[in-house]
């Protein structure tokens, strides 16, 4: 397998796993025709009866997946856009996240909910959202947000094998933007581990999804200015790899957390709190968050969209300030 895109990483992983385990099936809107992003293209023909179009009803997609997983199948649900998952929040929050807890493991849910998230695609308020913070607040659900095709492959496979509900976040801007040779890519990733993707001595940047790519680009640009950045690809947000997060902060003494979700109550607050609580004595500067402004959602017009989203220039600017502190 040479260089592949993110969407091809997802499609090929689904295809391979379905071949190995006939309990795996796909449920979602338009998935029989391949899905609006083509993540399930060709799978219906290859696995008849195991790719199932759902009605346009997100609570159904998640609630039915819960029942099927309880029965012993391995549903991989697709919510067409993360923006529409809110109608299924009750099923994830009140039911899926507590299934194992309330039965002391007597019942459990090996299910995956895949969904495209994030901005930069002129999707406006309802096709651009970051939803991770709602779900990282639900112990019992695992939340995975990869950035590179090889990680999409190993983490999607791990999510399918996991006996717990996994929310698998796919940054839609990266679907066809990011390529990677997955044969020589990084070693297999597991759920619950973050990765230090770049090592530098001046400051540490934390990111996931599209912002991971923007952060790496910023780090490259800063290297020319003799600002040497560590970049942490968080990969799994819940359960978080606290050890790697702290290790990276302690090594540089300066932390910059980047996400395209809005600032207040965003996942960056959790990283900042962990660093403040457990790495305070290593810090040379206040922890810095670079996030979207606190407005309800991403505006549509490109001018405002660009204003809303962090990017490599904004990251580099924030990093320069932090390095100079």
């Amino acid at each position: 397998m040479a260089e592949i895109t993110v969407i091809e990483a997802i499609r090929s992983s689904l295809e391979e796993e379905m071949a190995l385990d006939d309990r795996i099936f796909i449920l979602g809107e338009d998935v029989e025709a391949g899905g609006v992003f083509r993540a399930t293209e060709g799978l219906r023909t290859k696995y008849p009866g195991r790719v199932i179009d759902s009605p346009l009803a997100e609570s159904s997609i998640i609630g039915v997946s819960i029942g099927a997983a309880h029965y012993g199948l391995r549903p991989v649900a697709e919510i067409q856009f993360a923006d529409f998952i809110h109608a299924g929040f009750d099923q994830l929050c009140s039911e899926a996240s507590r299934w194992s807890y309330r039965t002391r493991g007597g019942a459990y849910l090996p299910m995956v909910v895949r969904t495209p998230w994030g901005g930069g695609v002129h999707g406006g308020q309802h096709h651009s959202q970051s939803i991770e913070a709602y779900y990282t607040h639900l112990p019992g659900i695992k939340v995975v947000a990869p950035s590179f095709p090889a990680d999409y492959r190993s983490l999607l496979k791990a999510a399918i094998a996991d006996p717990n509900p996994v929310l698998f976040l796919e940054h839609k801007r990266t679907y066809r933007l990011v390529r990677q040779d997955v044969t020589t890519g990084p070693a297999e990733t597991v759920i619950g581990r973050s990765r230090i993707s770049r090592k530098g001595s001046d400051l540490t940047i934390y990111a996931y999804g599209l912002m991971m790519h923007e952060s790496l680009a910023a780090a490259e640009a800063l290297a020319a200015e003799d600002i040497d950045c560590t970049v942490v690809d968080l990969l799994t947000l819940q359960p978080l790899d606290v050890e790697t997060v702290l290790e990276a902060a302690k090594a540089t003494g300066k932390a910059l957390i980047v996400h395209e979700d809005t600032l207040t109550g965003g996942f960056g607050g959790e990283i900042a709190a962990l660093i403040a609580e457990h790495a305070f004595e290593y810090l040379d500067a206040p922890v810095r968050r670079l996030c979207a402004p606190d407005i309800p959602a991403m505006p549509y017009h490109p001018n405002m969209e660009h204003f809303f989203m962090p990017d490599r220039e904004k990251i580099a600017a924030a990093a320069r300030e932090l390095a100079a502190y």
Partner: protein, 340 residues
């Protein structure tokens, strides 16, 4: 102290006017009675300060026992709601387990003290773990039905809710999904006349929940939920038909909530003594006993013996359960994620 007594073996031959055997009728009475008397004991323990909360199904025993008896125990699934003590008893829950659940004891097999009482769940018995949220379980039932259909397993899922919860979106989504895929799901609505304080005219503009099924292309029936025999005779064919692949069925059992919503509710705010007295005459447990006695199915002493047996089982279960260990504080932790 148990009274030694030789019990006459009940015939399994069908009695024409009931289309049930003596054996089945005895089971019906026993489970209805056990559910009612257990609930009465639970309320007593609540008033004594020994049980923090009780939510019961008094008035719905016939609706529950008749429907659960139509299932294949250990094979078919139940996705229950919180009033379904009677269903759980039929499917294998013991009086001891019911008391462990009430008292949130460490060994309660439903949730080990992690949920409020009457939040059922038992994987071995195919009883699906439930929350306090209403009608979410209908979608779980649809999911189980879908999985069973994909695996070609001849099982049926029966899922319960009250009429009040049929206004929620998940009710409608579940009916729609199950109908599209012709899933082996019985939607069993126990219409007890109340959503806490609200009567059904504040909940829906149609007379019967069953009328709503038509819009989803689902067969439906209304049954007198105070009549255990009628319930069984309505649910059983629907279960058989669903097992053969005929698709979902909605059954509305019209019953009456004889008690307040829960141990924390005062129903004098919203209904009269006179109304209660009228309905008490239709008490499904009392009416059933009168009927089988008058019809000469069981002599009085046999019925007394059944009652005695239920009472003894409960008495023993209460004594035993009160001495069982409570969860330790740190038992709050663990099993957040399943590890295989």
């Amino acid at each position: 102290m148990t009274v030694a007594r030789t019990r006459r073996a009940r015939s399994r031959e069908m009695i024409p006017e009931y289309l049930l055997s003596e054996h089945q009728l005895e089971e019906m009475y026993y489970y209805m009675l056990l559910a009612r008397r257990l609930s009465e004991r639970m309320i007593a323990l609540n008033r004594q300060g020994r049980a923090a909360f009780v939510i019961a199904g008094a008035g719905q025993e016939a609706a529950q026992v008749g429907a659960a008896m139509a299932l294949q125990k250990g094979t078919d699934y139940l996705a229950p709601y919180y009033r379904d003590l009677g269903m759980n008893l039929v499917l294998g829950m013991t009086a001891r387990e019911a008391m462990l659940n009430l008292l949130a004891k460490r060994d309660d097999p439903n949730s080990f003290g992690r949920q409020m009482p009457s939040h059922w769940g038992n994987t071995d018995r195919k009883i699906v773990t439930q929350s306090s949220v209403v009608t979410t379980q209908l979608l779980h039932a649809a999911g189980i039905g879908l999985a069973a259909k994909m695996r070609k397993d001849p099982i049926v899922v029966l899922t319960c809710c009250g009429e009040g919860s049929t206004s929620r979106g998940d009710f409608h989504e579940a009916l729609n999904f199950a109908a599209i895929h012709r899933l082996p799901v019985i939607f069993y609505v126990q219409n007890n006349g109340f959503a806490i304080t609200e009567r059904s005219e504040k909940e829906m503009p149609v007379e019967n929940v069953a009328d709503r099924a038509r819009a989803y292309g689902i067969q439906s029936a209304v049954v007198d939920g105070m009549d255990c025999v009628a319930v069984y005779q309505t649910v059983r064919p629907a279960v058989d038909q669903a097992r053969r692949g005929a698709g979902p069925y909605l059954i509305e059992a019209k019953c009456y909530r004889l008690w307040p919503h829960s141990s924390d509710d005062d129903d004098s705010r919203y209904r009269t003594k006179k109304e209660l007295e009228e309905w008490a005459k239709k008490d499904p447990v009392v009416v059933f006993r009168q009927r089988v006695e008058n019809d000469g199915i069981f002599p009085r002493e046999d019925l007394d013996e059944i009652e005695h047996r239920a009472d003894e089982e409960i008495r023993e279960a209460v004594q035993w359960s009160l001495m069982q260990p409570d969860p330790q504080p740190e038992d709050a932790l663990g099993f957040v994620y399943k590890e295989l």
